[in-house]
Symmetry: C2
Subunit: 460 residues, 2 copies
């Protein structure tokens, strides 16, 4: 159990820096994980950062740098000499260098690209040309490529010689002279095979790969489905151009889950920065569009109420149940929509399942509707009428409310399950169809049903 | 690109089974990934399943079995002879065997345990004794343990000899005679070091580990933070008892995200089965509790409206704005709560940040409130009053609505950000505090504010 408490670690390091105890600091730094060191950097003043960074062991420096937030990275780069910058860039994996470049302002980017060696620069440019959120944009080009005619001994030798610069050596890729991907072989298989065995006889030929242009969410889902540690990325001619590793897939999974959650709560995802790093204005911008849209669309509910102004003036007791009916409808609808959206994004259901889904939601909605209506009838008659003594609430009013509830829940679940599936089918993002949007539709439906039933049964 | 279309694959295999083309089937099966084969099994009739399973290459059979859903597994087990069952169990990793046992009915569990060899049975029992959702319950005991005084050559020899049964060989653990975890070393380091190098000189001694009783969500977050492929699990005496691998961590991440999303939508998470496998009644049970609770709590909003019955009877125009005010308040509140809940569960913020959070949400709420109030004032005066010609809507009424909106949004964001943090602090699940719960509170607040401002400004 050596999980470090970053706060006290920060104080120790800060004090030692103050006292210029550089030898002690060097010793401490060798015992720490780069992720934890990076957290310390984020709280240090910039001149201290530069000193501390120079105390890092060379092999840890790049790993630590990669884990810092962009402000800290930018500050450090400004303090770097050209040769220091070159050292860090050369030690970084290409996909991390691409992430860095995407975050930095133009002048810093120019400096970075000038210091990278030509081959690295070429690889960076290649990855940066793939569309955002594609497999190509999250891959790294540094993987171990073996030839089919190699023996296990030759393969292990090649890995020993070139492995140091590769992001993973645990899955190796077998390609022919045209770089066409023909097999994969894990280091486990290599180590457990005889040394004179030929690669093509022991490699796995049923290769599952993704295309450079495939969506990163799909790629992450494949990791989850097949439990891979790395997935090869190929171009249209099935030539291997890179790999995506499981750590990047986990980041994508987390990012996509956060985005879905935000969209379900009527927030426009604008950034993948953590909460405490997002400014007030940026937060405002991500929240105001849907609030405006939903406020304006609530005009319809207002118009429906206005249309029944006379009925309401005569039977004011009806108004008292409007919030409860609307909330219950909204909650029922979002239960269905959120369930369906999550199932869609985990690939559990597809559009072709729409009738199965509708049939199921209808049955669930009837069960829920009847239960709630019964509970509500009892509550109205016992609590509202007897305990609170509101004699305006006749059994007929209670019946109107309860019938409305059953019908509303039915429509809420129906709309809630159908809309996300249709949205996905026609190419919209199903998550945007979640709670708030459906609440607005269900509000309008519930009011119309309410007033229709009230008019019919109460003769108003 | 060899992603298989499971539907057409199912038809091919089904037809070949019908025609008893077993040799062809055997050939096809060797080219497929166990995950895809498992999907075919789930759609087959049980007698066909048994035949197909016997055609699987021995090494693929267990991997395929692990990927099937529990119904299919149970059906197959019923068809297995004891020796077939033993073969599958022996080939499975211990953590997968535990997952299987947890899903099966008691009589099947007994059969499984009887067939497992004594050592496996002991390991299964050990893992099953850890509390649900703990690191111990998701770990596997099959990992490579090395000794500090071994040379690299000896270590690689041991891995070659024992690696076949280990879930991962990529990270090896160094322990002393008391099994105390003293270091870790990756196979990459081993392969890239000289053969006569001693393990203790090249191993990583800054070991990050988890305790058997740590929560699985915390464990998954550590994978995400440190980009590990495996994480050692130790007991209170720091003795290594197992490892958690990244594929299990990904499953936990996905499961926890789904649970959070369900809770935010007022669904009680009852199962981690995919949507299409959950029965209607089970779905009903997971949805009805919160619907009931929220319906009953909406009684308060009804009581508030009843309290202002006279005001409403006199100025029915006020009723028309109730849904819009309530919805906008609810949406604002859930934007804040959902953002905070996600930030809490990703570890971006903690309880000590509560004042930072409140200060930020207050500023965001004022920006949102003023924007929406201005837009709403314009909409009411131009559309509702001029276009629809509703002369009951005076500028004073518009002012009441817009002031209410600002105050409501302020309280909505305040409640929305505070409640989840306080819930977490006192040991409740913050996700349960999300949208629906907050909507109910905000509804009550917005109505009270509305009627208070209306009473003051409209003198009713």
């Amino acid at each position: 159990m050596e999980r470090n408490n970053t706060v006290s670690l920060f104080e120790t390091i800060s004090t030692l820096l103050e006292k210029k105890r550089y030898a002690t600091l060097r010793d401490i730094l060798t015992t720490l994980n780069p992720v934890d060191i990076a957290a310390v950097f984020e709280d240090l003043q910039s001149e201290k950062s530069a000193i501390l960074f120079r105390l890092l062991p060379k092999e840890t420096a790049a790993d630590t740098f990669v884990e810092m937030d962009e402000e800290t990275q930018e500050l450090l780069i400004h303090g770097f000499s050209d040769s220091e910058l070159k050292e860090v860039i050369d030690e970084m994996y290409v996909d991390d260098a691409v992430d860095l470049i995407e975050e930095m302002p133009a002048n810093v980017v120019k400096r970075i690209l000038r210091q990278a060696d030509p081959e690295t620069r070429q690889q960076i440019n290649k990855i940066m040309n793939y569309p955002e959120d594609s497999a190509g944009s999250i891959m790294t080009t540094e993987c171990v490529i073996l030839r089919p005619k190699m023996t296990v001994e030759e393969a292990i030798k090649r890995i020993r010689r070139t492995g140091i610069d590769k992001e993973t050596i645990y899955t190796c890729y077998v390609a022919d002279n045209q770089a066409t991907l023909i097999g994969i072989i894990t280091i486990k298989t290599l180590l457990l095979s005889e040394e004179d065995e030929v690669i093509e006889n022991i490699m796995e030929t049923n290769v599952i790969s993704v295309n450079t242009l495939d969506d990163q969410e799909e790629v992450a889902q494949m990791f989850n489905k097949y439990n891979f540690l790395a997935l090869p990325v190929v171009d249209k001619e099935n030539r291997i151009v890179g790999i995506v590793t499981v750590d990047d897939a986990m980041d994508v999974m987390e990012e996509e889950a956060t985005e879905d959650i935000q969209k379900m709560a009527a927030i426009t995802p604008t950034t993948d920065k953590p909460y405490d790093k997002v400014g007030v204005f940026e937060t405002y911008l991500s929240r105001i569009p849907w609030l405006l849209i939903l406020m304006v669309s609530a005009t319809f509910t207002g118009m429906i109420i206005t249309g029944f102004e006379d009925a309401l003036a005569g039977t004011v007791v009806l108004s008292a149940f409007i919030p409860m009916l609307m909330d219950t409808g909204g909650n029922s609808g979002s239960q269905a929509s959120v369930t369906i959206i999550r199932a869609l994004s985990l690939g559990e259901i597809e559009f072709k399942d729409i009738f199965m889904v509708i049939f199921k939601e209808c049955r669930v909605s009837l069960l829920c509707g009847v239960t709630l209506a019964a509970a509500n009838f009892a509550k109205i008659m016992l609590f509202d009428r007897l305990v609170l003594g509101n004699t305006g609430i006749t059994p007929m009013v209670a019946l109107v409310v309860c019938l409305t509830m059953i019908v509303t829940i039915f429509f809420a679940k129906l709309v809630g399950c159908t809309l996300p599936m249709v949205a996905k089918k026609i190419g919209f993002d199903p998550a945007v169809m979640a709670s708030p949007f459906i609440t607005t539709i269900v509000d309008a439906i519930s009011l119309m049903v309410y007033f229709a039933i009230a008019t019919a049964l109460l003769h108003i």
